[in-house]
């Protein structure tokens, strides 16, 4: 069907799917019953109605015609019947007239009269015409005798019996066949006949009886019958009474109704209608006198028939005649054309229906399609509008401009935001390639042109940053992205993309880059090497200075264990240090500067100053080591130290002489001296000692720093060493009027020390304490356990250590107050040496003090297992 094609013609706009497409058939069927079909249905309806109207009109016409004809026929039949009855009456009147005219009428006279009538020919259906004599009561015998005498010996009035009055049929012509049965019959004895006869006699008028069964019904199919009576009188009675007095008898005719009707209607074509005659008004079978349908084939048709009812009222009696048409009658008035109208009209209607349907459905479909498309396009519009809004909002908000470029024409289509980006007003800017090109920074033009060409040529994508020059001359950095839109075949190519201002970002980037460069420059150019390692000891970074220092390239070092930069024993110890640190979190090296030894790529070792700090980087510890090649410094130090050594040796030599000669003098080896000389000698000797100690310290320090101080370490009990030190310094303390007191002791503690050096440490503390204690004071010495170590504390109640000196206290040549030096003596090297000595014996030194509240110096040494007993502490 064309309609389906039409449905398939519907296609959706490219961007949105057509979701309303249904099965065409289903749609068609639905369409049939939808509103769209209404017009067609209406058309069909109208045409059908019209057809039906025409048909019905035609039918009606037929019917009317039939009715008219029928009525006509019916009327004619009724008239015929009536006419025939009148004629019959006429006959009877004639017969009665005969009786009136002559005194008596003989049988033969009667016969002659009747035969003249030629009833069978002229009046077919009439049974006969007869005369029934009135016999008053008492005259019966005479009557019977008379008739018998005429030659009817068996004559008797039937039915026999006593009655008030009698009638007897004495004449009936033709006196043959059935009529013979009537001879002598007393019709007056029968009720129905009686009534009619009475009526006739009373009124002097002709009367008809109701339905009777004639006595003539002796054989054959019985028919309904009736009789007509005309009374005959003697004379001309005027009153009812007279009539009964003068009644002679009745001229009558019996009728067999069927025969009568046949006779009446023989001229007519009774095939066309049926009628019934009922006696009176009743419709019953008893009253049925005649049904024409019996005469011929029943009418099988069930169709509506014409029918009419008539009354025949005649002679004091009424018949109801009901006539209806037979199909043959109706058929006459039925034109097949009438019925042809229906299918023709129907067909026509259907044709119209189909046409209308087709038209309307086409139209409907077109409209529906148009509607759908409109709706969809509206939807699309809406979506597009929304999308544009969104885009505009988004890009406007974020400063992104959207552009479209048609390479063929050179046209540009810019959205609002693009103009903002380029700082131009739409009306000032002609939207084409050249205009845009002219806004590009001179230096970027060639590159951009090339990139665009590349994108157009095949890459399909354009991704670039470039500079533009604003109208006021300011340069801005722009980022541009674009892509070549896939075009439907034949459509011109176009590029669509965005631009946005990245000047700020660029500046930030540059600043960051600059900052990074700066940092990198600093990093690279610091004199000190910076090495970072992770908690496993693997090198994470290695700066330029480190490269120089170790003569490794970064790739040779990164990711490898940092101990590759150390000689033995550090090389093997380093992992242990890290493990220990990881486990105990006790820093040995971190935060402290240390002089260590490094190993260069060529294997040469050199002194390093190492400072380590720890940071957390991404949850993991990272150790940063600043290393400084102190070879030069060391050399300088060594030179200094050698200098020191040389000098101290040079100093020592004359000192020996001075001390020697003084000693000899003081000792009296050269004889006695004047008493006044002795104090002088004393002074000289004392100061000589002091000088000597200074030189010793210097030499010690030098040795320590050169690593040349030899330690004779041995595991031994601690207390004896402490006691020895106390003893050794007793004299010195006494000189300062200070008491040394040992407050606590630990007797079964063993330490691994060089006895002499420990003595040196303790002497240093004790002499300092004595030196700085006010006279008469006590210097308290305690020995205590402290975890896995033993701690020897020397407490004095001197001036304590001022805060600003605390940081420098263990440094070389540092003394709190240079004025003290002269007063208190001391080289200023003591504590520095002490610290080194303690470190060499795995111990450490420290102090606690507050200015004005005395000082406490301690040395801590790890406790050793004594050789003979099991592990202690």
């Amino acid at each position: 069907m064309a309609r389906l094609d039409f449905l398939f013609l519907m296609h959706s706009p490219p961007d949105l799917p057509d979701t309303s497409m249904e099965g065409p058939m289903r749609e068609a069927v639905r369409g049939l019953f939808s509103r769209r079909g209404l017009a067609a249905w209406i058309v069909l309806g109208i045409s059908l109605l019209f057809t039906i109207a025409v048909w019905r009109t035609l039918l009606q016409r037929e019917t009317d015609a039939a009715t008219r004809q029928f009525n006509l026929m019916a009327g004619e039949i009724v008239i015929d019947i009536k006419e025939r009855l009148r004629q019959h009456e006429q006959i009877l009147l004639g017969g009665a007239g005969l009786f009136d005219a002559s005194m008596s009428v003989s049988r033969n006279e009667w016969r002659a009269y009747i035969s003249r009538l030629n009833l069978s020919k002229n009046y077919p259906g009439i049974q006969g015409v007869g005369f029934s004599e009135w016999i008053a009561s008492g005259g019966l015998a005479r009557h019977e005798a008379r008739i018998r005498a005429e030659g009817f010996p068996a004559y008797a009035v039937r039915p026999p019996g006593e009655r008030e009055a009698y009638t007897a049929i004495i004449y009936l012509e033709p006196f043959v066949e059935r009529n013979l049965a009537a001879f002598g019959y007393d019709m007056f004895s029968e009720a129905v006949r009686n009534k009619a006869m009475r009526a006739a006699a009373t009124t002097g008028q002709t009367s008809i009886s109701g339905k009777v069964k004639l006595v003539q019904e002796t054989h054959g199919k019985p028919q309904a019958g009736f009789l007509m009576y005309v009374p005959v009188y003697r004379g001309v009675p005027a009153t009812e009474e007279e009539r009964w007095r003068d009644l002679l008898g009745f001229v009558y005719s019996p009728y067999r109704v069927n025969d009568l009707m046949r006779g009446i209607l023989s001229q007519r074509n009774v095939d066309l209608l049926d009628f019934t005659i009922h006696d009176g008004n009743a419709d019953t079978d008893e009253a049925l006198m005649y049904s024409s349908a019996d005469e011929h084939l029943p009418d099988r048709s069930n169709r509506q028939r014409q029918s009419v009812s008539e009354r025949i009222e005649a002679y004091g009696h009424a018949w109801s005649v009901r006539l209806h048409s037979r199909s043959s009658f109706d058929a006459r008035f039925q034109s097949p054309l009438t019925w042809l109208v229906l299918p023709l009209g129907g067909a026509f209607g259907l044709a119209l229906f189909a046409l209308t349907w087709s038209l309307t459905s086409r139209r409907e479909q077109a409209m529906a399609l148009a509607q759908r498309m409109t709706a969809r396009s509206r939807e699309n519009e809406q979506r597009l509008r929304e999308s544009n809004e969104r885009l505009k909002l988004a890009t406007g908000f974020s400063g992104i401009g959207v552009w479209e470029y048609h390479p063929d024409s050179g046209d540009l289509i810019w959205d609002e935001q693009m103009f903002v980006v380029y700082h131009v007003a739409p009306q000032e800017f002609s939207a084409n390639y050249d205009a845009w090109y002219s806004r590009l920074h001179r230096d970027d033009r060639a590159r951009l042109e090339a990139e665009l060409a590349e994108a157009l040529a095949g890459q399909g994508r354009f991704d670039s940053s470039f500079r533009i020059v604003l109208p006021d001359g300011e340069v801005r950095h722009i980022k541009g992205d674009g892509y070549l839109a896939q075009s439907a075949d034949g459509a011109a190519p176009r590029m669509i993309g965005v631009n946005y201002d990245i000047t700020e970002q660029k500046r930030t980037e540059e600043a960051l880059a600059e900052s990074a460069r700066q940092n990198q420059a600093i990093f690279d150019n610091v004199v000190d090497g910076i090495i970072t390692i992770n908690s496993a000891g693997l090198v994470a970074s290695f700066n330029l200075a480190a490269e120089r220092i170790f003569a490794y390239r970064p790739e040779e070092v990164l990711g490898r264990n940092v101990n590759m930069l150390m000689p033995e024993p550090y090389h093997s110890q380093h992992d242990g240090y890290l493990d220990n640190y990881r486990a105990t979190r006790i820093p040995r090296v971190i935060g402290i500067g240390r002089e260590v030894v490094g190993r260069r790529k060529d294997g040469s070792v050199f002194p390093l100053d190492l400072a380590v700090s720890e940071i957390q980087h991404r949850g993991q510890p990272l150790f940063i080591g600043i290393v400084r090649d102190i070879t030069e410094r060391k050399k300088a130090e060594r030179m200094k130290s050698e200098f020191v050594s040389t000098v101290s040796h040079e100093l020592r030599t004359p000192l020996t002489s001075i001390a020697g000669s003084l000693g000899l003098l003081a000792g009296g080896a050269l004889g006695s001296l004047p008493a006044t000389a002795l104090p002088m000698l004393e002074i000289a000797t004392r100061n000589c000692d002091r000088l000597s100690r200074l030189i010793d310290d210097l030499l010690d320090m030098e040795k320590i720093e050169a690593g040349k101080l030899h330690f004779d370490l041995g595991v031994q009990p601690l207390m004896p060493l402490v006691e020895h030190a106390l003893q050794a310094n007793q004299g010195y303390a006494a000189q300062h009027k200070v008491t040394l007191r040992l407050s606590t002791r630990l007797d079964d503690v063993w330490v691994k020390v060089d006895a002499a050096r420990l003595g040196q440490i303790l002497s240093n503390f004790l002499s300092n304490a004595a030196k700085f204690s006010p006279p008469g004071e006590v210097v308290e010495i305690t020995v205590q356990r402290s975890g896995g170590s033993v701690r020897i504390e020397v407490r004095d109640r001197g001036p304590g250590i001022p805060d600003d000196f605390k940081a420098r206290i263990f440094e070389k040549f540092s003394q709190a107050d240079s004025s003290d030096t002269r007063q208190k003596g001391g080289t200023g090297l003591g504590l520095a040496i002490t610290r080194e000595l303690a470190a060499r014996m795995e111990g450490k030194v420290g102090y606690e003090s507050q200015a004005g509240a005395g000082a406490m110096f301690y040395v801590e040494l790890p406790v050793q297992d004594s050789p003979d007993s099991g592990p202690k502490g």
């Binding site: 040796h649 004359p654 020996t656 001390a659 020697g660 000669s661 000693g663 000899l664 080896a669 030899h710």
Partner: protein
């Protein structure tokens, strides 16, 4: 064991020489020959026939150890005990000097009043 009587003292410093002489002669009663250098010692040692030789370590030219080595090559002096006089008296250094052949080390500066007895003790010890 003989008596310690004759001591050869090698020292380049004149002042210390003087002190040593007093300390050893006047205080100790020894016969002392003082040489100002290792070379001189080598020349004079055999002639002097010391019981004990005291060597300063730090001397220009031949230092103490070198002088000892050279002296030992003189058969007459091979058995003479030698004592170093030096400022460096750490235990390890002492051991080193002993390894060289010295019997002991006396630290500088020395107490001139005690020097003689120190030497005497050493003499006694090495003859035990």
């Amino acid at each position: 064991m003989g008596q310690l009587q004759r001591i050869l003292y090698v020292e380049d410093e004149p002042d210390i020489q003087a002190i040593a002489r007093v300390a050893l002669e006047a205080v100790g009663g020894f016969v002392v020959n003082i040489c100002g250098s290792g070379e001189q010692a080598l020349r004079e040692a055999e002639g002097f026939r010391p019981n004990l030789i005291m060597l300063d370590v730090m001397m220009p030219g031949m230092d103490g150890p070198a002088t000892l080595k050279a002296l030992r090559q003189q058969p007459a002096l091979a058995a003479v005990p030698v004592v170093f006089i030096t400022a460096k008296v750490q235990a390890s250094e002492v051991a080193a000097y002993k390894d060289l052949g010295a019997v002991d080390v006396i630290p500088k500066p020395f107490d001139p009043m005690r020097l003689a007895s120190q030497v005497g003790e050493i003499w006694t010890r090495c003859h035990d």
